[in-house]
Amino acid sequence: MNMNTNIFNLFAAFSLLNINRNINNNVLIYDNKPNKEIFGVSSIKKGDKFYGYSCGVLFENQICTDIDKDGNIYGTSTLAIFKKENISHRILIKLPSRGLETEYIQKIKALGITEQINPWETKIGMIKQFVGSLQITNQITGFIGLLTAFATIYIIIFINVTNKRKQIGILKAIGIKKEIILGSYIIQSFIYGFVGVILGNLIMQGLLALLTSHPLAMPIGDVVPLLTTTKLLTTSLILILASIVAGFFPSRKASNDNILDAIFGG
């Protein structure tokens, strides 16, 4: 809700909707200065003075005696808190569950509040952009990783078939079908890809465990990577497929090589 109004009056209105039951979960209070938003109550430190509000009553000069790890403030029994003045440029309201936004906006308007009221998507737009940027970065690094894997396996197989050119020529001369030679190098490529995927997944699981226990602190909150089974299977399959394709081209060239050129060099 964007506004510049007496927030006590708003709280009085909200109390009718029964949405300010809990300081930390239902009502987040913001400073009155734009660009200095206080997320939750994190800007209030032990010993700070603040205003409290409950059931239409303003409690001044509340002193924060302690804040526990969950953000609960001790030193007040009020249901809403804010720092300084009876003015705020924005108030965030957490609803009991998703999907109630329109209903609550209508209810708030029905209380006679004329300020601009926006659903959470308006605020979350920035987060969406942030997540979108992360996803693009993720896709770019994923694509580069895939290209690297492709190039590495291509080079490995190319070097293998080049080093064994004469041997491949001899095998063809004694009657080994080129499909067998091609197949053997494709199996080799598959094994490289498969082992790479297994090792990569082990490292990924380790990183996931680490970042889950120690999330990355971001302005929007703690960020924990998420790896779904579908994503895991898709990327693993793509990597294995890329390995096979990477091995196919040099192997095919080697298996199609002229026998005498392969044996005697040409």
Binding site: L171, K172, I174, G175, I176, K177, I180, I259, L260
Partner: protein
């Protein structure tokens, strides 16, 4: 009258480099009977290896006709030639070219395996032929653990494991000392006598050629009929 296992008629192999044509083989015709041990001899660059490559289906002639075991092999497709080599021909090269990652018996049964034989069959065949070439006690050795002569025996066993109609050998003793060379030629002679194996061998050594039933002399890409042994 015994039919020929190999019939060559007016064989030509021409290498073209722009407008310049080089005749590696010209108007070569001869026959080889089943069970013959034939040496192809001549000076360096005379075309004897080129001739062996045509006979062994490793290369295609520019003109002429090659009939092996009553089949005109000049008309075979690439795939058919590969299959023909696997089924009917065996090769021994100057360098042994065994797969270093495989042991002796695995190197030998490789072509039988590719042919689709059962493990029992190809193991039995490989053991039989390794016994014939005198390597019965080395079947689980790796190529790096064998002497040059022994490695060449393994490659001979590999060439013979599928019971080919013809065994081709391209200077099989060139990398060996004189004792090992003698052993290999004696082994060829023994296989020729004992299992009636047709052998076509390219060699520089006249003493080795003399062990053969007949020598085909070649010079400047044409048969040299002036020489006899």
């Amino acid at each position: 009258m015994m039919k020929n296992i190999i019939e060559i008629n007016k064989l030509e192999r021409i290498y073209s480099n722009g407008i310049i044509k080089t005749y590696a083989l010209r108007d070569v015709s001869f026959n080889i009977k089943p069970g013959e041990f034939v040496a192809i001899m001549g000076p360096s660059g005379s075309g004897k290896s080129t001739l062996l490559h045509q006979l062994g289906l490793l290369d295609s002639p520019t003109n002429g006709c090659i009939i092996i075991d009553n089949e005109d092999v000049s008309k075979l497709t690439d795939k058919e030639r590969t299959n023909f080599r696997l089924e009917k021909l065996g090769y021994v090269f100057q360098s042994y070219n065994l797969l270093p990652e495989l042991n002796v018996i695995e190197n030998v049964f490789l072509t039988s395996m590719a042919k689709g034989l059962s493990p029992e069959d190809y193991n039995e065949r490989a053991k039989d032929i390794l016994e014939k070439v005198g390597l019965k006690d080395r079947i689980y050795y790796y190529p790096s653990e064998l002497s040059g002569g022994q490695q060449q025996r393994v490659s001979i066993a590999r060439a013979l494991v599928n019971k080919p109609k013809i065994l081709f050998a391209d200077e099989p003793t060139a990398n060996l000392d004189s004792d090992s060379s003698q052993d290999i030629i004696n082994l060829f002679k023994k296989l020729n006598k004992e299992i009636n194996q047709t052998i076509v061998m390219v060699t520089h050594e006249i003493e080795e050629g003399k062990k053969a039933d007949k020598i085909i002399w070649i010079k400047d890409g044409v048969l040299d009929l002036s020489k006899k042994f």
